[in-house]
Amino acid sequence: MSSAVPLTHTASSSDQAHADEGKFHLFVQIAMLLGVITGVEIIIVYLPLAKWLVVTALSVLSLVKFLYVIFYFMHLKFDKLFCTILFFIGLVLAGGTATALLAIFSSKDSIPETAKVIYAERATASVTK
C-alpha cells in the first residue's frame, strides 16, 4: 500500500510533464503556422489575380490568424464560454460600426477633386513609363 502513493504520484507527474510538453509544442506550431500565413499573404498580393479574390483571400487568412491567436494564445478555447461571449460582444459592435461607416462613407465617394487630378496625373505618368 505504501508503494502505491509514490507510483500514483510519479504517474501524475509524468502526465503533467507530457501535458506541458504538448502545450509547448502546440504554441510553437501555431506560431509557425501564423508566420507561414503571413508569408502567404505577401505572396498573394503580388499574384496576378482578380482584386476581389485577393481581398477575399487576405480577409480569410487574417481571420484565421485572428481566431488562432484569440482561441489558443489568449486561452479562449480553455476558458469559460462567458469570456468568449463578452469579447465577441465588443467584436460584433466593432465590426458593425466599421461596416456601417464604410457603407455610409465609401472611400471612392469621398475622394476630393484635387485628389482626382493627382490620381489622373499618376496614371498618365505610369502609362508613359
Binding site: 487568412l61 487574417s62 494564445f73 465588443g90 472611400s107
Partner: protein, 283 residues
C-alpha cells in the same frame, strides 16, 4: 516559487459568481471596448486612404513590405513568448517566466524600433501628420497601436521587476526595483539613440562595420549613449540574478495572464492593420 504548484485551477474561480477571476473578466471587458476604439480608427483610415498628399509621395511606393512583414513576424513571435510566459507562470516556474518576459520585451522593442524608423523615413519623404488626410489617419492609427505596444512593454518591465520581490525585506526591494526600472529606461533610450545613429551612418556611408564603429565613436551623444547602455545593461545583469526566496509564484499567474491578454490583443490589432493598411495598398 509557489509551494502550491499545480494545485490552482487557472480557468475557474469558485469565489466569483461567474466562475471567472475578476481580473480576467475586467481585462476581457476592456479588450472588448478597445476593439470598438480600433474599429473606428481603422474605418476612418480606410475611408480617407484615397486622399493623397499634394505633390507628396505615393503610399504604394514608400511602404516597405519587407520591413512591415518583419515587424509582423516579430510581433507574432513575441506573442509566442508571451503565451509561454503565461504557461510558465501557471506552473510556478519563476526563472522561465522571467526569461520569456525578457524575450517579449526585446521583441516589443524591436517592433517599436521598426515603427520609429518607418515614421522618420515617411516624414523625410514628405508624408506627415498634417500633409494630407491619408497621413493624419495613417499616423493616428499606427501611432495609437504603437502607444499600446509601448504601454505593453512598460507593463512587461514592471512585471519582470515584480518577479524579484523577496519573501521578506519588502522595503529594500522598493529601492532596488526603482533602480532596476531606471536601468531599463536608460538601456532602452540609449539603444534607441545608438540604433538611430547607426542607421543614419549606414544610410550616408554604407552599412559596414567601420562606418558603424565610426558613428558610435565620433558623435558625443552617441558615445554617451553607448557608455550608458553598457553601464545599465551591466546593472540589469547584476540586479537580475536570483537571490533567495521570492514572493512570486503560481498565485501571481493571473497577473501575468492579464498582461498576456493585453499583449496578444495588440498582436491581433496589428494582424488587421497589416492587412487593411499595408497589404491593401498594393492592390
Amino acid at each position: 516559487m509557489s509551494a502550491h504548484a499545480g494545485t490552482i485551477d487557472h480557468h475557474h474561480d469558485h469565489t466569483t459568481t461567474t466562475g471567472i477571476p475578476n481580473k480576467k473578466l475586467f481585462m476581457w471587458a476592456f479588450l472588448a471596448s478597445d476593439c470598438m476604439f480600433f474599429a473606428a480608427l481603422i474605418s476612418t483610415h480606410v475611408i480617407y486612404r484615397l486622399h493623397p498628399t499634394p505633390d507628396g509621395p505615393d503610399p504604394k511606393k514608400i511602404f516597405s513590405i519587407e520591413l512591415t512583414s518583419f515587424s509582423t513576424f516579430i510581433l507574432l513571435m513575441s506573442s509566442l513568448l508571451m503565451a509561454l510566459a503565461v504557461s510558465a507562470s501557471q506552473k510556478g516556474k519563476v526563472e522561465a517566466t522571467r526569461k520569456m518576459i525578457l524575450g517579449t520585451i526585446a521583441f516589443g522593442l524591436i517592433f517599436l524600433g521598426c515603427q520609429v524608423y518607418e515614421f522618420s523615413h515617411f516624414v523625410h519623404l514628405g508624408l506627415t501628420l498634417s500633409s494630407s488626410m491619408f497621413g493624419s489617419t495613417f499616423y493616428t492609427l499606427t501611432g495609437t497601436h504603437g502607444v499600446h505596444v509601448a504601454i505593453g512593454v512598460v507593463w512587461l518591465v514592471l512585471t519582470y521587476i515584480r518577479t524579484f520581490k523577496p519573501a521578506n525585506e519588502a522595503k529594500a526591494w522598493i529601492i532596488r526595483s526603482i533602480v532596476q526600472f531606471v536601468a531599463f529606461a536608460v538601456a532602452v533610450v540609449s539603444i534607441m539613440v545608438m540604433m538611430l545613429a547607426v542607421t543614419h551612418a549606414g544610410a550616408e556611408h554604407g552599412y559596414s562595420l567601420s562606418s558603424v564603429l565610426h558613428a558610435l565613436q565620433t558623435n558625443f551623444i552617441t558615445s554617451v549613449s553607448t557608455a550608458a547602455f553598457a553601464v545599465s545593461t551591466a546593472l540589469l545583469f547584476v540586479l537580475g540574478r536570483s537571490t533567495g526566496e521570492v514572493d512570486f509564484g503560481e498565485v501571481n499567474a493571473i497577473d501575468v495572464e492579464g498582461m498576456g491578454l493585453y499583449w496578444h490583443f495588440v498582436d491581433i490589432v496589428w494582424i488587421i492593420i497589416f492587412t487593411v493598411v499595408y497589404l491593401l495598398e498594393y492592390l
